[in-house]
């Protein structure tokens, strides 16, 4: 899987090389082409073009519009920079010889000849007469530029042209767009063109064309289309309909209803995804706590710092990869970070348990205070070693980017990776508890310490390893969290209250409870956010949990029977 990935990366890189080479070649050719063009411009065959160009400097606005139209009809690519300059108020005539020039920006205006593109040195604004442009003229310019570029070889230029043409409602522009649309192969550009075309025909005087346009845009149920069609379904201030034709009106109203429904669905799906994504982050942060707090009953306030240690391990592994490992394997650093973070945080956890916590079993409040002390010291230690500012962790290539699951719903790969990872960690842990000898011993010690001890289980070591396991999982969570947020010494502080809420809400000692708790809180939070804002949403959740515990003091998934009394 990873190998094929690497192969793809190298292939893409090779493709990039070819592209760059092609780019340079093209630039070279273009330069030659421009030189030839400049030479040709002085000869007679381009007369029509130079006449039209000269018309731009005409005093009357009507003549200017005619010149712009002429340029657009000629379809000469060279006109584009001239028209763009005119639209930006950078087209001048030089006072000494009346030549049409394009000016640069800045105090000393760098001049290029509009007709030939030849550099003409610099001048100040006193030597030049600006060619005045008004709004009507600008609309015409936008349309002309669009028309000139709609058949450009570069898809990005065509896309831009399709968008700028929207205000140009002349029949020629529509015809041009219709032709371009028929030829267009690139999907994005095609869609943009179709939209622009429909936009043009929506205001057409012919009801049949308007109807066709509504039908045309109904393929794309987006908010843009809704804004376009909305005027057709609107009513005037006096109560009459803005759209005289009832058929068009009905089509528009129906389309708007469909779009609204789709938008609602999209928003719902997006909220759900973000909720699950937040839930998976909470899940990762809380799984380790489900072991230390849920299974062992140890209040570990340094749990957040275990997450932080995992994140810093990621930083270190990344740094080692940068220095020692060839760049093409850089994406693998994350794979190495996971066991490394598990070992680092797990080792710290075992040390903590053996050194401090085991003396405090049965005294939860003291455990809380002592582990808080550990968390302060760990934070300060990391601050002393790595410095207080945030550390930067770069996502490996295969985690950057996003795909559009449906229109308007973009899912980023790193979020998806974290959801999958969180579930995998949960499943792995459940399997470990259920099917391994260590899991069996762990459960035995939790259920009846004395009996387990009598059966020959070294309860002390099981305690240490269980605590190490919980801490190690927190470290692994740190690897994942380093991919979506800042890595700083107080990274863990932000998660500690949330993780405890998840465990208490879900039910102490139940892994499924943690899953349900994390997902419920995550989704709940995201759905509240648009109405209440991020902070108020969080406050409401905390209040909700306090009230919820009234009804179910032992959480969603309460343990039953004997274990509940432990």
């Amino acid at each position: 899987m990873i190998k094929s990935h690497l192969a793809r990366v190298t292939w893409v890189l090779r493709g990039l090389h070819a592209f760059v080479l092609a780019f340079f070649l093209m630039t070279g050719l273009l330069t030659v082409g421009v030189a030839i063009g400049a030479f040709a411009a002085s000869s007679a065959w381009a007369d029509e073009y130079s006449d039209a160009l000269a018309g731009l400097a005409a005093p009357a606005f009507n003549d200017k519009v005619a010149a712009i139209d002429a340029l657009a009809r000629l379809g000469d690519e060279r006109a584009t920079p001239v028209l763009e300059a005119m639209s930006d108020n950078r087209l001048y005539t030089r006072k000494e010889d009346g030549r049409l020039v394009i000016g640069g920006t800045g105090r000393d205006i760098a001049l290029t000849d509009a007709a030939t593109g030849e550099a003409l040195g610099t001048a100040t604004s006193r030597d030049l007469t600006r060619i005045n442009v008004n709004n009507a003229l600008r609309t015409a310019l936008g349309g002309a530029i669009g028309r000139l570029q709609i058949n450009n070889a570069d898809p990005a230029k065509r896309l831009a042209a399709a968008e700028t043409m929207a205000r140009d409602r002349t029949p020629e522009a529509m015809a041009l767009l219709r032709d371009a649309l028929a030829r267009e192969k690139v999907e994005d550009v095609r869609a943009a063109m179709a939209l622009t075309y429909a936009k043009m025909s929506l205001t057409s005087t012919d009801p049949a064309e308007r109807l066709a346009a509504v039908k045309e845009v109904s393929g794309r149920l987006s908010s843009e289309v809704r804004a376009l069609v909305a005027p057709l379904a609107a009513t005037n201030p006096d109560g009459s309909f803005a759209e005289p034709d009832p058929q068009v009106r009905a089509a528009a109203t129906g389309l708007i209803a469909r779009i609204d429904q789709r938008l609602m669905m999209t928003e719902l799906a997006l909220n759900l995804f973000q909720g699950v994504s937040l839930g998976s982050v909470l899940l990762l942060a809380a799984i380790g706590l489900a072991i230390t707090f849920g299974v062992m009953g140890v209040i570990n306030m340094a749990h957040g710092e275990m997450i932080m240690l995992g994140a810093y391990t990621t930083v270190v592994v990344q740094q080692l990869f940068r220095e020692w490992i060839p760049a093409e394997f850089f994406g693998l650093y994350l794979v190495i970070s996971i066991p490394a973070a598990f070992l680092v945080a797990g080792a710290v956890g075992v040390l903590m348990e053996r050194g401090i916590i085991r003396f405090l079993y049965g005294r939860p409040l003291e455990t809380l205070l002592a582990t808080w002390g550990i968390s302060l010291m760990l934070q300060q230690l990391v601050r002393a070693i790595f410095g207080a500012p945030n550390k930067e962790v770069s996502n490996p290539g295969w985690m950057t980017g996003a795909f559009e699951a449906m229109p308007g719903m973009v899912l980023t790969y790193n979020r998806i990776a974290i959801i999958i990872f969180a579930l995998a960690v949960l499943a792995g842990l459940a399997a470990l508890l259920r099917y391994t000898p260590f899991g069996l011993q762990m459960r035995a010690v939790t259920q009846n310490r004395n009996m387990a001890s009598a059966m020959g289980i070294r309860t002390g070591w099981v305690d240490a390893l269980t605590f190490g396991l919980g801490s190690g999982i927190a470290g692994v969570a740190g690897v994942a969290l380093s991919q979506i947020g800042n890595v700083s010494p107080n990274l863990g502080q932000g998660y500690i209250v949330d993780s405890f809420m998840v465990v208490v809400f879900g039910g102490v000692g139940s892994l499924w409870g943690v899953l349900a708790g994390a997902m419920t809180l995550g989704i709940f939070n995201k759905f509240l956010e648009p109405y209440a804002g991020a902070m108020l949403g969080k406050i409401l959740i905390l209040v909700f949990i306090i009230l919820f515990i009234q009804k179910r003091p032992r959480g969603l998934f309460a343990l039953k029977g004997r274990a509940a009394e432990a």
Binding site: I299, M301, I356, F359, L360, Y361, G362, R363, P364, L365, E366, T367, L368, L369, A370, W372, G373, I374, S375, L376, M377, Q379, Q380, L381, R383, A384, N448, R449, N450, Q493, V497, F500, M501, V504, G533, M535, L536, K538, I539, L542, V543, I545, I546, L547, I549, Q550, P553, A566
Partner: protein, 389 residues
């Protein structure tokens, strides 16, 4: 007469002597040393030191309030920083209203940050805070009401131990988030500051500082006596019984919920008063006072001093904050190491804090003198049963 005789039972004869001597030292000697001696004298107490001591007195009152609920009722509240800050905000609101037209925008009614937010009138919950006595009433009522509601919800459903701690921590966390919001109308991130005067006296003036310092000392003394009154009463005995065996007390027919609720509410009020005295002395109150770390730090003051003794909490607040002032001046990077170590050392080696140290050492010496097999086997049994629980 009845009150006097009850007062006499609050402390032993020796206890009263120590109490009065300390009180006189704090409220007479320190201000006199500040006012009468020239600055170059070695016994001169500089005004900044007086303010610092005033701050410590507020912290001591806060620690005392936590000891009342943690040391006696066994419920470790990690939300006392929240009650402290709420009291502080009530005082801050009064002080803001005293600024009047002297703010940057010169608006006679609205504090600067409201003018900045384009608010046209005071929100309803700011009404009345121009009156000192109303503000003082709120200093007690607001934290008290919050503690009452939260305590009623939690104690009623028999949430105890660490669950109570976590819920109170969640409460301050939520309060912190809330007070960071500008729309709350409490100055958001910047909080309330730039105070001018309190009861007509300039808050910066030396005389006002001494006055606030003496007031803090007197309130601390009064708070101590009230707490002593509670813990030496019958209710106090019930509280200690709840701390040691909650279910048994419930089965004996006492209302555990009401006893805890009462002491939690009183404790929150004391914390609120401490906050109100603190704010004019430091000149600012902002949402960072609500941070959960602050609240948990109070627990270590009490633990260091020795919980369940009241005076231990006061001693602890002075010791830890004194150490904090020393470290932040001398070696700021080591402060958190020291504080962290303090948490661990206290819980592992000093379960009864500084005030219990002497007894602890005596015990150890006695045990070493007579190595009795009986006590040893009992200990092992205890540890095992605790472990199993």
């Amino acid at each position: 007469m009845l009150l006097m005789s009850r007062l006499a039972t609050l402390e032993s004869r020796r206890g009263w002597q120590v109490f009065l001597i300390l009180l006189v030292l704090t409220i007479v000697l320190v201000p006199v040393l500040n006012l009468t001696l020239p600055p170059e004298s070695p016994f001169h107490v500089p005004t900044y030191m007086l303010s610092l001591l005033g701050k410590y007195l507020c912290f001591a009152l806060l620690a005392l309030s936590l000891d009342l609920i943690w040391g006696y009722a066994g419920a470790l509240s990690l939300g006392h920083g929240g009650f402290f800050a709420l009291g502080g905000y009530c005082m801050g609101m009064y002080l803001m209203r005293q600024i009047g037209t002297r703010g940057v925008y010169g608006n006679p009614d609205l504090p600067d940050f409201m003018v900045f937010l384009n608010w046209s009138e005071l929100p309803w919950y700011w009404l009345g805070f121009g009156n000192f006595w109303f503000a003082m009433l709120m200093v007690m009522l607001v934290p008290g009401a919050l503690a009452y509601v939260l305590g009623w919800l939690t104690f009623r459903s028999r949430i105890t131990g660490v669950y109570f701690s976590i819920i109170t921590q969640a409460m301050v966390f939520a309060l912190m988030l809330a007070f960071f919001r500008n729309e709350m109308g409490f100055g958001g991130n910047n909080g309330l500051t730039d105070f001018k005067e309190i009861l007509g006296y300039n808050v910066q003036a030396q005389g006002t500082r001494i006055g606030l310092y003496v007031a803090s000392a007197l309130v601390l003394a009064l708070g101590y006596l009230i707490s002593r009154y509670i813990v030496t009463s019958k209710l106090g005995r019930v509280l200690m019984a709840i701390r040691d065996a909650e279910s048994r007390v419930r089965f004996l027919g006492y209302s555990v919920t009401n006893a805890k609720l009462f002491v939690f509410t009183v404790s929150a009020m004391l914390a609120g008063i401490a906050g109100a005295l603190y704010v004019p002395q430091v000149g600012i109150i902002n949402p960072s006072e609500f941070s959960p770390a602050n609240s948990i730090e109070i627990a270590v003051w009490v633990a260091v001093g020795g919980r369940g003794t009241l005076y231990g909490a006061i001693l602890g607040a002075f010791t830890v904050n004194g150490a904090k002032s020393f470290f932040t001046g001398a070696a700021p990077e080591f402060w958190l190491f020291f504080l962290g170590a303090l948490f661990i050392v206290c819980t592992l080696f000093l379960p009864r804090g500084i005030v219990g140290l002497a007894a602890q050492l005596r015990n150890r010496a006695a045990r070493r003198a007579i190595p009795s097999t009986e006590t040893k086997s009992k200990e092992v049994g205890d540890a095992a049963s605790e472990h199993g629980a």
